[in-house]
């Protein structure tokens, strides 16, 4: 058998905590062969990223505490573990023989340098050529990742690109020196499904073109099923399973692998029941009727000659939400999903249309009237849960303060009862009461999202608007949160508007799905109907971009 490009044996990585070193990666061993894709999968905190960074010796402040990493090439074998982090020999490998792509293209690219400057820099670090030649090479690498008009794009800044284009630029940078190994650390997690599909196809094509070995880190089993030749499953810093994709999916050995596959297959869009948990109500009564909602963003610039830029974000959007129903809103980023729900809760002002909401006592209110939520006390009934569980909780407030804040603002209950209620709510979302006095940073992403949910429940709402509430979470945590939302629905009689870009998840959670495209609501129907018999091409494309669950039936990448 051919010699592997990379040979990792018994690798351990540790972090110093005070005076002693705690290992977070324990004895990981694997080989990587030329031209293959190895997917490393596991939930956040399982040590996948640290392992990948250790391969490039950029895992500071962590350091390698044991094992060996051997890089084999035409000029012989280099022992990466024997080098120092910032050795010249190590720096010569980074960016030249091993390239890396990161999760967040926006923050992983410098905000103050042009794309071109950053790519040319990599080339000049490793190749002996003139600035002009390096620039030509950089243009070539942008062309390779299919960035349109690379001669102009090279002088742009990362913030002038869309998310997908940024990730392409990032890939172009990692591949500028045509490395033997590409490490991709969750490169599609921050992207919406259609862009994810494009990036995955692009990576596959480039891999074939350049004959690279790819280490692809992800928590999404769907992505693994699409692209992996071999799969490595990590759990709590250990490699619990390693094998060919087909074997891992069809005959998983480790219990954790089975759990991961089980969790992801719940979100398969090929299923035909409507809702994952509870049943939709038998006789629907409308709770919210949105009619011809229209919203345009205007930005006025200039002091003497005033100019107004307009962006028509919502075009005549109409839909009805019934009591006890879960309505999903899907679409690519920029399609107006978030704008729509923000207009409904009064965070943005709509230009026209109405949104009639029937309150608990049977009265009707138009949510689009300025101050409607506050005035009629509807902000008790309609609550929001946001996407990013890290930035939507105030880091300087304790969990108790966070959950109790809506109640304190209301001022109806005495302090003592507020305290009890906060404790009850925390229990209700599955966290121990003792955690009331802790601060958000002590919690994981999933736990934080539970806290957000507890906060939204504090004032006995009837409608919860979840804006990408599970998008930032790992597969298994995601299903736990969705199950919690289902339980709360049965218990409290809630309705949900669930915004998401992952059709599989939305399909699992919702009774009906509304598809948005460029500010228009193009299609709305029962979840199963949308997924099985879409009427619009746009919806079909969205569905086609959802990764499958079986390496034998790849949906995105044509099998060779």
């Amino acid at each position: 058998m051919e010699q592997p490009v990379l040979h990792v044996s018994d690798l351990s990585v540790g972090f110093s905590v005070r005076s002693h070193v705690t290992d977070v990666v324990h004895g990981v061993s694997f080989d990587l062969h030329k031209g293959e894709t190895l997917c490393v999968v596991g939930e956040s905190g399982s040590g996948k990223s640290v392992t990948a960074r250790a391969l490039m010796r950029i895992c500071r402040p962590g350091r390698i505490t044991g094992g060996q990493i051997l890089l084999n090439g035409p000029e012989g074998t280099v022992d990466i573990t024997a080098l120092d982090d910032n050795d010249e020999a190590m720096r010569a490998i980074r960016g030249d023989r091993i390239g890396m792509v990161f999760q967040e293209p926006m923050s992983s690219l410098s905000p103050v340098h042009t794309i071109g400057a950053q790519i040319t820099e990599t080339i000049l670090l490793h190749r002996n050529m003139t600035d002009a030649a390096a620039r030509a090479e950089a243009i070539e690498s942008l062309r390779r990742v299919q960035i349109p008009d690379p001669e102009t794009a090279i002088d742009k800044y990362s913030f002038e690109f869309s998310g997908g284009m940024r990730q392409r630029a990032m890939i172009a940078m990692a591949l500028a020196c045509q490395p033997e190994i590409l490490i991709a650390d969750e490169p599609t997690t921050a992207l919406d499904v259609t862009t994810q599909a494009e990036i995955l196809r692009l990576l596959k094509r480039l891999q074939a073109e350049l004959g690279m070995a790819v280490i692809f880190i992800t928590h999404d089993m769907g992505v693994v099923a699409e692209i992996a030749d071999r799969v490595a499953v990590m759990y709590h810093g250990r490699l619990v399973e390693l094998g060919p994709a087909r074997q891992v999916f069809h005959d998983p050995q480790a219990a954790y692998t089975r759990h991961l596959i089980g969790a992801s297959s719940r979100f398969s869009i090929a299923r035909d029941h409507d809702r994952g948990g509870t049943l939709p109500p038998a006789a629907p009564k409308p709770l919210l009727e949105v009619r011809e909602l229209d919203l345009t963003f205007r930005k006025t610039t200039g002091f003497i000659r005033r100019r107004t830029k307009e962006f028509h974000a919502l075009k005549q959007v109409s839909f009805t939400l019934h009591e006890g129903e879960n309505l999903g809103i899907v679409g690519e980023s920029g399609s107006g999903k978030t704008t729509l729900v923000r207009a409904l809760v009064g965070l943005l002002n709509a230009d026209a249309g109405s949104a009639m909401y029937r309150s608990k006592d049977g009265r009707s209110f138009d949510l689009l009237e300025p101050g409607a939520l506050r005035g009629a006390g509807l902000n008790r009934e309609i609550r929001m849960v946001f996407q990013d569980p890290f930035s939507s909780l105030n880091p300087r407030m304790t969990v108790e303060q966070i959950i109790a804040e809506p109640l304190i603002l209301e001022g109806r209950l005495p302090r003592r009862e507020i305290r009890d209620k906060a404790a009850y709510l925390l229990n209700r979302v599955g966290l121990p009461q003792a955690m009331l006095t802790r601060y958000p940073h002590a919690f994981s992403g999933g736990q934080r999202q539970r806290i957000s949910i507890a906060r939204s429940l504090a004032v006995d709402p009837r409608l919860i608007i979840a804006d990408e509430a599970t998008s930032a979470l790992d597969g298994s945590i995601r299903s736990q949160i969705l199950d919690l939302l289902f339980d709360l629905q049965t218990e409290l009689g809630l309705s949900y508007i669930f915004v998401g870009h992952d059709l599989g998840v939305v399909r699992y959670f919702c009774d009906r799905i509304a598809v948005m495209h460029k500010g228009e609501l193009v299609e709305i129907d029962r979840a199963a109907r949308i997924c099985q018999q879409p009427t619009r091409d746009y919806t079909r494309n969205l569905i086609a971009a959802v990764p499958g669950t079986d390496p034998d039936h790849r949906r995105l990448i044509a099998a060779e």
């Binding site: 950029i58 992983s108 002091f303 003497i304």
Partner: protein
């Protein structure tokens, strides 16, 4: 960009007009005027020609006219370049400013250059080697510099210089060079004097810059784009200067706007202690004696310097941060 600058200059003209009114108003606020201060001085010296003479002087300089009339007169004179007359120093205001502005500018610019040249590298070092002995030392040094009043430090240095060399250093020139033309000897003499105010001002101002830069840079050092640059195989030192330092400097560059007016207003007490022939002691004196034309001109000048400084820092920001540049273009 050009349009942006043109817009800003137009706004600045309006701002300056408003500023001139506020200046004049503030100077007029305390009871009495320059004549009464002058008369009080005369009376204290035993001269009792008193009331009649005061009235005559007020009449002559238009001081008993209504406020608005005085203001408009002052403004009209300003527009044609006449800054008025200083009663106290018995000289035209423009002459006083002219004779001192060069030296003020030189001292302050030297001090600021030294200040930044010391503070920026220390700030970078403190962030990159956080909690190292050097960082602790820089922090302690910075805070001592901040906590010790500038004039005290000036006195201390003067004392030490006197004890060790036996010469008293004050002012910016020795007697023989005070009114001489610039020559090598005069430059050397100047340097042998100017280091004291420069050191005093620089140690006082270093701490905030060190701390701000350190805090910003600590945030930036953990940003993903730094890891990206590291993954390219870049040398650590070059990488830090090229990426996080550039971003961390942005908030500091924004403060450049406040530096210009300090040419007049900063280190008043230090300047008095060290007997520096700069503008700041003049500003203090004119305010005490209600020498309104002189004080008004100086304060207005400071305001204009603030406006110009803000424009300069905005342009610098646009140069250093493309996100701001594109915001301006639209």
């Amino acid at each position: 960009m050009l349009q942006f600058i043109a817009n800003r200059i137009l706004t600045m003209i309006g701002m300056t007009l408003m500023l001139s009114f506020v200046c004049f108003f503030i100077i007029q606020l305390p009871p009495g005027d320059v004549i009464s201060a002058y008369a009080a001085e005369l009376a204290a010296a035993g001269d009792s020609s008193g009331g009649q003479m005061e009235e005559m002087l007020r009449e002559r300089y238009g001081l008993n006219q209504p406020f608005v009339v005085q203001y408009l007169k002052w403004l009209r004179n300003l527009l044609v370049g006449d800054l008025g007359y200083s009663f106290n120093l018995s000289k035209p205001v423009s002459e006083i400013i002219e004779s001192r502005i060069g030296i003020s500018l030189l001292v302050e610019m030297l001090a600021i250059t030294v200040l930044w040249a010391i503070a920026v590298p220390i700030g970078i070092y403190s962030a990159v080697r956080r909690y190292s002995v050097g960082d602790m030392f820089a922090t302690v040094f910075g805070f001592i510099g901040l906590a010790v009043p500038n004039f005290l430090l000036a006195l201390l240095i003067m004392y030490l210089v006197y004890v060790f060399t036996g010469t008293a250093v004050e002012g910016l020139f020795s007697a023989e060079y005070a009114n001489a033309r610039w020559s090598l000897g005069r430059i050397l003499d100047f340097l042998s004097h100017v280091w004291i105010p420069v050191v005093v001002i620089a140690t006082g101002g270093a701490a905030p810059i060190i701390r701000v830069l350190r805090a910003n840079l600590l945030d930036e050092l953990n940003k993903p784009y730094v890891v990206t640059a590291r993954a390219k195989g870049m040398k650590e030192s070059r990488l830090i200067m090229r990426y996080p330092v550039r971003v961390a400097m942005i908030p500091l560059v924004a403060t450049v706007g406040w530096v210009l007016p300090t040419i007049i207003s900063s280190s008043i007490v230090t300047a008095i202690v060290l007997n520096l022939p700069t503008l700041s002691p003049i500003l203090l004196r004119s305010l005490l004696s209600q020498d309104m034309h002189l004080a008004g001109a100086l304060i207005l000048f400071m305001g204009i310097l603030t406006l110009v400084g803000t424009l300069v820092s905005d342009l610098l920001l646009a140069w250093i941060d493309p996100r701001i540049r594109t915001g301006m273009a639209t």
